[in-house]
Symmetry: C2
Subunit: 150 residues, 2 copies
């Protein structure tokens, strides 16, 4: 029985990894000069690592020095007011091994954005959580009380 | 002529507001106990403020004490490898005026998630930026050199 917390069903770790792997675009969250920033990237999952390309600029300048970042994927239905999200947190490090970079590019993992994006960042996921909106009907069938405003 | 920066077209402030207003779901980025967090919410724009509901938990505990947060909306086409994103940054404060809350609820602005989400947060946008992926064809027609890996 899934755990429901204030209208949100908590996803299992396996479900979180599955959703992370299935998504092609996620969002990197980090602090730049003490201000929060969220920037989307197309990504790939390998083991417990999330990979994305970046170039000179805000993201790289921060992650070059081994920064803890958040990585989020989600999906929503505007019509049904449902959706889910997965949040990973971990240390981001740059991969500089040319053989690794070449192999990834050969296998078709490339940045969607043209221009200088030849730096590969890997996030070593240390914290992972996921949530799904429980519809009113589901909440009723599970006997949740206080369906609130949704 | 739009400004192109490393494969990304920078959007005007008007375009950014238009995309923020048109989106129904955005993502709040903030630091919680010094760790970056990204959490999606359904939102509404009024003037230069972004509003969303929240409940007891991470988000509210942080924004109750007037925190600077990021707010992001985006849209992507997996098939065409195109997309855009808008990033707002500003001070988040809780609105406690019962008349304001009642008026918003009467006008249909309600949280998608059921449960206890009766706290209204407003982000006063102080920094706003937007980017759009320039396709290879567009980059060619604009004479951008070094189309890179995209």
């Amino acid at each position: 029985v899934p755990l429901v917390d204030n209208g949100l069903e908590l996803l299992s770790e396996d479900e979180c990894w599955e959703l992370l792997r299935a998504a092609t675009v996620g969002r990197v969250g980090l602090s730049v000069k003490a201000l929060p920033v969220i920037l989307p990237v197309n990504h790939q999952v390998s083991g417990n690592k999330i990979r994305f390309w970046t170039g000179p600029g805000l993201k790289l300048q921060s992650v070059q020095t081994d920064t803890v970042v958040a990585f989020e994927v989600d999906g929503f239905s505007e019509q049904e007011h449902t959706g889910w999200s997965v949040l990973a947190v971990g240390l981001a490090v740059e991969v500089t091994d040319g053989a690794v970079l070449d192999a990834l590019l050969r296998n078709g993992f490339q940045p969607w954005v043209s221009g200088d994006r030849t730096h590969l960042i890997e996030v070593n996921v240390e914290f992972l959580s996921g949530r799904r909106i429980v519809t009113a009907a589901e909440a009723d069938s599970k006997g949740e009380t206080g369906a609130g405003l949704g």
